[in-house]
Amino acid sequence: MTKLRSLAAFGALWLSALGQCASAQTAFTADTPIFKEEAASAGITQSYTGGWEFFVGGGAASFDCNGDRRPDLLIAGGAGPAKFFVNESPTGGELAFRPLDTGLKEKDLTGVLGAYPLDIDNDRHMDLVLLRLGRNLVLKGGPDCRFEKANRSFAIDGGRAWSTGMSATWEKGNRFPTIAIGNYVDRSAPGTPFGTCEPNQLLRPRSGETPDYSDPMTLEPGYCALSLLFTDWNRTGQPDLRITNDRQYYRGGEEQLWQMSQGRPPRLYTASQGWQRLTVWGMGIAETDFDADGLPEYALTSMGDTKLQKLDEEAGEDRPTYRDIAFEKGATAHRPYTGGDPKPSTGWHSEFADFNNDTKTDLFIAKGNVQAMPDFASYDPDNLLLGGYDDIFHEKGMEAGIALDTRGRGAVVEDFNMDGMLDLLVVNREHPASLFRNLGAATDWGYRPLGNWIKIELDNGKINPAAVGSLISVRTGTRTQTRRIQIGGGHASGRAGFVHVGLGVSERATIRVQWPDGEWSHPYRVFANQHVRIIRGEANARYWYPVAQ
């Protein structure tokens, strides 16, 4: 009889175990991309160093300067000189860069906090805006990675401010871009640094055949900006200017959204218009659109928790009222996820991208203590929050291999070896920059490729050839993903080049482009795992192929 009872007990246990095994939902089941840090072997040697003025900044610009479409780099050095690197990575192979001597004077290249690429004069060679402690430098790009100073020829007064951020857009009807420069603390003002933020600068081009920025305007009040982004937050086709500010040094300040109107000075959105007062240690802005509804969401890094802002549907149309969804999406990233340091994190560059090609948006955040702030984590590894099928972010920085003991600042998310998998460059304070190559997903026999992908380059024609401000809409099955081509945001870091979209298991996609002037293109049908060039006006897309290895 006891034997039967024990068998019955076992049976009950067996049944309950079966019930649990039948559950089909798992926490995070997509691929975790594995990153191999290889800056040294790749020839990238650069540290962002210097005193207090270089606690912030630490950015990089990624763009093609020699016409081979492989992304080249300019990495800020802070007190040390900024360095140029030409990308010589074989397709799908180990990353390789060659240092480039542009002939520019060392004194011009020191004091650089960050940089953004921008084709200011529409000549299809990327120009560069170097944000400096002191006079900002504009470099006109030419073929074969030639750069020459262009402040004079473009009539850009680099100013004397501590510049930390930048964004650019082509305002309607303009031939040349409008450039916004973000400035930080005014070191010469009485009482500095507290409550002495420098105004920001808006450079609107004057009419004419060549870029002429001789009539800059100030954007006041400034609240010690660290990141700016021209963004079309409400589907009007007119980007407004969002600025994230560092509450450490402002008094009575807040986050800002400037309403841009053609031909009129910008005006700040006020509380009565719906702009709610938010104070953060604003370090970087990242933009995405989770549901492709044309109303973007924003990640704002800070000390402590990252904000993930979504337009509040209940607030009424055209009101810039945002609510924070970071907690419900698991994206607060407020504390180091490994290493055991219980103090809050300090976040810098943030960027949305699909690192594992599964169509779900991921979020990278560069992290690191300001210098030696005792109330904040000192071992503060960068985050790789992978978007899950459950619409929640899952932290995978540890497994991915990016949880280094560095103080990350700016970063560039880019596919440096043209294999469709996004790689990562992180500029570190007082430590060599980290260059991570995406190897794919780990298996017990090696690495296997991730999901399908598509990379898209737009050609908008004579004015704004790189189509800054356009929207790319990629449809696969019932899913739509969008990407906005923007210059700005992040932490002192910007990029230009192919836009990457992960496609998961889709073998093909349909792409539509909303060009900067608002016109929608017809649908382009493309196959996955291709570099696509869409030239405005052409019936079919072209494919582009890197040199085969």
């Binding site: 039967l4 068998l7 019955a8 076992f10 049976g11 067996w14 049944l15 079966l18 039948a22 089909a24 939902q25 798992t26 089941t29 997509a30 691929d31 016409g67 081979d68 479409r69 090609n357 599964d358 899950g388 099928y389 459950d390 298996t443 017990d444 026999w445 090696g446 296997r448 490729p449 991730l450 999901g451 399908n452 696969t476 099955g477 019932t478 998961g504 298991v505 889709s506 073998e507 093909r508 049908r525 493309v526 196959f527 996955a528 795992n529 291709q530 060039r533 019936a539 079919n540 897309a541 072209r542 494919y543 582009w544 192929y545 890197p546 040199v547 085969a548």
Partner: protein, 485 residues
């Protein structure tokens, strides 16, 4: 998890019920699920019979054993215990959730519409074609996924094709894709070297696919492509030539027609769920199951030419074969294409994520079709290449024009291919697989020939203008192209 072992071995799951469970069975305490293992259980025994994907080059015995399991799977009637049905998922090739679950498991139009593969693929034998009654309704499975009308607005009605010789078809497609991509590489490197645009004809195994133009910066202009996808991969399966491989097609079909979801596409890695179709059964089809199905399909013998004993047939067929060339039919229905290599790699090289490909596994398997007895009979040319007698060209053509548009009945394009464009139907086996046409609704060869418009118009007109005797001879020839299972 795949397992790599030399020589291509795999293991069978022990079919022994553990003693303790037997005890529970006897004690009457066993859950109903445990009775699955009885030999009479209402499930497909062949599912999961192969536990690991094969690797390495398989010997003849190993290949035949693997294919035998594939045949069992092909003929199996999937049951609810197997996981038939997809209440939460549509028929789409990309895993797509349905908005509302449907009550019925089987549904004639949107599927699942068949209990087994062989239910439709059976003429003249398992793996064959199907009559009009077995037609299926191809739709992308995104909008109106639950269509219940035969209106061509919602789906394209398609006949069931035979699968005999499909392994060689896929091998031809792979070799031709490589050839086309080599032309592209050549154009690109020439353009880079000379610094100016280079335009080259795209040709593979003598079949022309238009032109490709390469720029020195690495861009290619695809405006002049003809009958092939822009990534220069020949996708030889389905009426429009849009399915890449037997493996991809098998996974597509298992989901569409049976609601049986293969883990390599519908599993947690890509969907977050092991039971994406929400029928309560996870892990319905393993990668090894798919490999078995692919192995069987890839090793099905080619159709042959067999001339019946009846008086006069041989002479008529000979004359008809000459007419076949004279009329111009062979421009598209090429009597043979040469194949360099009979080694069928599985997973293959051209599938993208969503179907296992050779980069996604530790070691692929190779099914050497040359080991099959029937393969030894295949004719070869003087270079030793196998002459695959497919009577096709793996190229897509427009089949309608302003006067003749009988084949233009469809309203929807499919996977980027326009409504009136179809891949040349391989005529091997045409004598065993009436009716004809992509909708399987032409009951005579004469009628389907007369329906050729567009690219086939010239040959069709030559046939129409021919004498009755010549036409009759052509029919006599075509009817000798049969499947001998």
């Amino acid at each position: 998890m795949t397992f790599s072992a030399p020589g291509g071995r795999w293991r069978y799951r022990p079919g022994i019920v553990p003693a303790l469970l037997r005890g529970l069975l006897l004690a009457g305490l066993a859950a109903p699920a445990l009775a699955d293992d009885a030999p009479w259980a209402e499930r497909t025994q062949a599912l999961g019979a192969i536990t690991e994907m094969p690797t390495g080059v398989l010997s003849k015995d190993e290949l035949e054993t693997l294919a035998a399991t594939g045949e069992q799977l092909f003929g199996a009637h999937f049951t609810t215990l197997d996981g038939v049905g997809r209440p939460q998922a549509t028929q789409a090739i990309d895993p797509t959730r349905r908005k509302h679950p449907r009550e019925q498991v089987f549904f004639r139009t949107a599927g699942p519409d068949a209990g087994s593969c062989a239910a439709c693929h059976n003429q003249p034998a398992i793996g064959g074609a199907g009559d009009f009654v077995t037609n299926v309704f191809a739709s992308e499975g995104f909008e109106s996924a639950d269509f219940d009308s035969l209106d061509p607005q919602f789906s394209s009605e398609r006949g069931t094709n035979h699968i005999f010789g499909a392994g060689l078809i896929e091998l031809l497609a792979r070799e031709m894709s490589l050839e086309l991509q080599m032309v592209r590489s050549q154009a690109l490197s020439q353009a880079r070297a000379t610094g100016s645009a280079v335009r080259l004809p795209l040709e593979a195994k003598g079949v022309e696919f238009g032109y490709i133009s390469a720029e020195p910066d690495g861009s290619v202009n695809l405006d002049e492509l003809d009958g092939v996808d822009t990534d220069l991969v020949i996708r030889p399966f389905s009426q429009k030539g849009v399915m890449t491989s037997l493996r991809q097609f098998t996974i597509n079909a298992l989901n569409q027609h049976h609601g049986m979801q293969a883990g390599e596409r519908f599993g947690a890695r890509w969907t977050g769920s092991d039971d994406f179709d929400g029928d309560g059964k996870s892990a319905e089809i393993s990668a090894a199951d798919v490999s078995a199905l692919v192995a069987w399909q890839a090793t099905l013998p080619t159709p042959v030419q067999k001339i019946p004993q009846a008086d006069g047939w041989a002479e008529a067929a000979a004359r008809g074969e000459a007419k076949f060339t004279d009329f111009g039919c062979t421009v598209c229905h090429r009597p043979a294409l040469p194949l360099e290599n009979l080694a069928f790699a599985d997973p293959g090289p051209f599938d993208l994520a969503g179907t296992l490909n050779e980069q996604q596994v530790a070691a692929k398997a190779v099914y050497d079709i040359g080991l099959m007895d029937w393969a030894r009979e295949l004719p070869r040319d003087d270079q030793g290449r196998v002459l695959v007698p497919l009577f096709g060209d793996l190229k897509r053509h427009a089949m309608t024009d302003n006067q003749i548009d009988a084949l233009g009945n469809e309203l929807m394009s499919q996977r980027f291919v326009d409504r009136n464009i179809f891949q040349t139907a391989e005529l091997w086996g045409v004598g065993s697989t009436q009716p004809y046409g992509h909708r399987n609704d032409f009951s005579s060869l004469d009628a389907i020939i007369l329906a050729h418009g567009g690219n086939g118009r010239q040959a069709r007109d030559a046939y129409a203008a021919a004498s009755d005797a010549e036409k009759s001879a052509l029919i006599a020839f075509l009817k000798t192209l049969v499947i001998v299972p």
